[in-house]
Amino acid sequence: MLIRLSRPRIVKLVLALAATAAVLGFLFLWSGLYSVAASRGHWAVMEWLLTFAMRNSVKTHAIAIEVPPLDDADLIALGAGHFHGGCAYCHGAPGVPISPVALAMLPPPPDLATQMRPWRDRELFWIVKNGIKYTGMPAWAAQQRDDEVWALVAFLRQLPALDARRYRALSLGSVQVEAQSGREVATRETASEAVGACARCHGAGRDAPPSALVPALHGQPAEFLTAALEAYARGHRASGIMQPVASDLAAAELERVARYYAGLPPIAPRPAAPAAADSIARGRAIAEAGDAGVPACAPCHGANALKLYPRLAGQSRRYMVNRLSLWKGGLPATTATGRIMAPVARMLNARQIEDVAAYYASVAVAP
């Protein structure tokens, strides 16, 4: 017998089939028969679908991102410092194998030194900043700090060309990891990767920070350093690089390391391209006397100021320009001292920022 299907009947049939499918699907999930085990992997078709969706999503969302110049030694060195502590555990690095624990994730994180997809710079930026759903890839801890994300992208661009020796030089900076005895390995935290060492990025002793984007902490007041570390640890001060490091430190450690840096003799910043003399002179005038509504810097940043304030003499020019520009660009002031400084930074124009930074970087510090 032939069943005649009129249009209303077709509609009813389709609706009934869809409802049945939805109910069956729900019952399947409710029964718990579907396995969420990372150990089992995806079906090939699922794997293909997820990857297809992910790649296209990244490409589309990254279209409007503008890429700054990335062939920049300071960006690369800062990115290397963070990669070693934040990324290498899952993604490996030359001479640093991926942890077997990370490899057992689904999907397993790619070894970026050898298997990185040919992403564009802006796509890498988007991935590092936003992370990827349903993988272990986290978003950047401080969404306001695009400047930090670009440092990481700059480093990722160099990563495939690095060998183990050059990777260590970049990511460990001046830190020398001494071989531990069997007893030390057995009884202490293993130090071979020096992941938590401040000096990898900030230098220590007589060594300056390897990147001019990183502030020299030598000789800064302990109160200022402690307050900054506490602000990072509690998430009051935004940095995807410093927040994880600071939150790993116990309160007592945080104070001890602050006192260590406070006790170091000040160092001269790593020599960069020298600033023009007239820029330094203009910066000096602003620092000492202010400029049309801009207050002078010296009362708060000179030797006699509160120990809660940083000293600027000899500080890295690029670091200061970046810090002031971040506030000027709208980074919210979230710490007690930030609330004082941010309105001042917003009063400065781009040239004044360059000038005061050039001046303070040029001030000789007593060794």
Partner: protein, 313 residues
């Protein structure tokens, strides 16, 4: 010292009295004219035919629509111009007390001529004048247009960037006259008020002599600690306290803060609690003001700062 009602209709100065008289003349004339209009309108609608014919005639239109307004307005203009001479600096008396007032976002910089013709004596947010002597205010603006208006003492004069305007006042009796910035100047404009304090002439001279002196040095241990904090926290980069390293000119001069009546530009009465409140919570007290909040001090440090600032008499 009595606070005096802030109102044009409560004049206590020569110029304010003239303005108030002018206002009453205007109100009275307006009332008479309104009455006339109402009566004529009623007659035009309900009057006897003969009256309505007269009202509709061309002569009446010329008389009430042309001749009368020209006459009334001419008389009023003449009266107003006559009164304005007293407001203008042209008629300035030789012994006029000179005060410079500059409007800034959102406070008043006040300067009195130094006795030895040196730099003006700097003060802020409060103008002191002697009773009975003519005062010549020189008004300027540093950023946007502000307007100086103390209704019980005199007229309203705009403070315009790049120009200097002048205003004459003479207070008739001692008291505190409240004034207000009368031109919207952004953010906390509504909280940009000031007091004009009229003192007996002898008191004024004594006060001005004290105002010219540098700040009192801290005596008590707490005051000394307050001064140390004031300088180390960088307050002096915006505020001046003459006689110390603090020489900033971005914010109000604090040399004799404790002789003033308010903190936060006439926002809160001057006392230790309000000094502390303004330092750490100023953006709530006066939202948008240019002073960042200093939430870095302990309770003892706040007490020391307040003790020092309130010692600056």
């Amino acid at each position: 010292m009595t606070p005096i009602l802030q109102s044009v209709l409560s004049p206590h100065g020569v110029q304010a009295a003239q303005i108030a008289t002018l206002a009453w003349v205007l109100f009275t004339a307006a009332a008479v004219l309104l009455l006339l209009v109402v009566v004529v309108a009623a007659l035009a609608m309900r009057g006897a035919p003969a009256v309505r014919r007269v009202l509709a005639g061309e002569r009446m239109v010329v008389a009430l629509g042309l001749v009368m307004p020209v006459a009334v307005l001419t008389v009023l203009l003449g009266y107003g111009v006559f009164l304005m001479r007293a407001q203008l600096p042209a008629a300035q008396a030789a012994d006029a007390v000179q005060v410079e007032v500059t409007g800034l976002q959102w406070w008043w910089r006040v300067g009195y001529p130094a006795p030895d013709a040196g730099a003006p004596i700097a003060s802020a947010n409060e103008v002191r004048i002697p009773v009975g002597r003519p005062v010549l205010l020189t008004l300027a603006a540093a950023d946007v247009i502000h307007s100086f208006w103390v209704p019980s003492l005199g007229g309203k004069v705009d403070m315009i960037p790049g120009r200097v305007t002048q205003l004459r006042l003479t207070a008739e009796r001692p008291g505190i006259y409240r004034g207000q910035c009368a031109e919207y100047c952004g953010g906390p404009h509504a909280l940009m008020a000031l007091d004009v304090i009229a003192l007996a002439p002898g008191e004024f001279d004594a006060w001005l002599a004290r105002e010219a002196e540098p700040a009192r040095a801290p005596v008590a241990e707490q005051e000394r600690e307050g001064q140390r904090l004031f300088l180390a926290a960088g307050c002096g980069t915006c505020h001046a306290i003459r006689g110390t390293a603090a020489g900033g000119t971005i914010g109000p001069d604090l040399t004799h803060l404790a002789s003033r009546r308010s903190v936060g530009v006439d926002t809160l009465p001057l006392n230790a609690a309000n000094v502390t409140r303004f330092i750490q919570d100023g953006q709530h007290v006066k939202p948008g003001n240019r002073m960042p909040e200093f939430r870095i001090f302990s309770a003892e440090e706040h007490a020391a700062l307040a003790a020092y600032l309130l010692s600056l008499r």
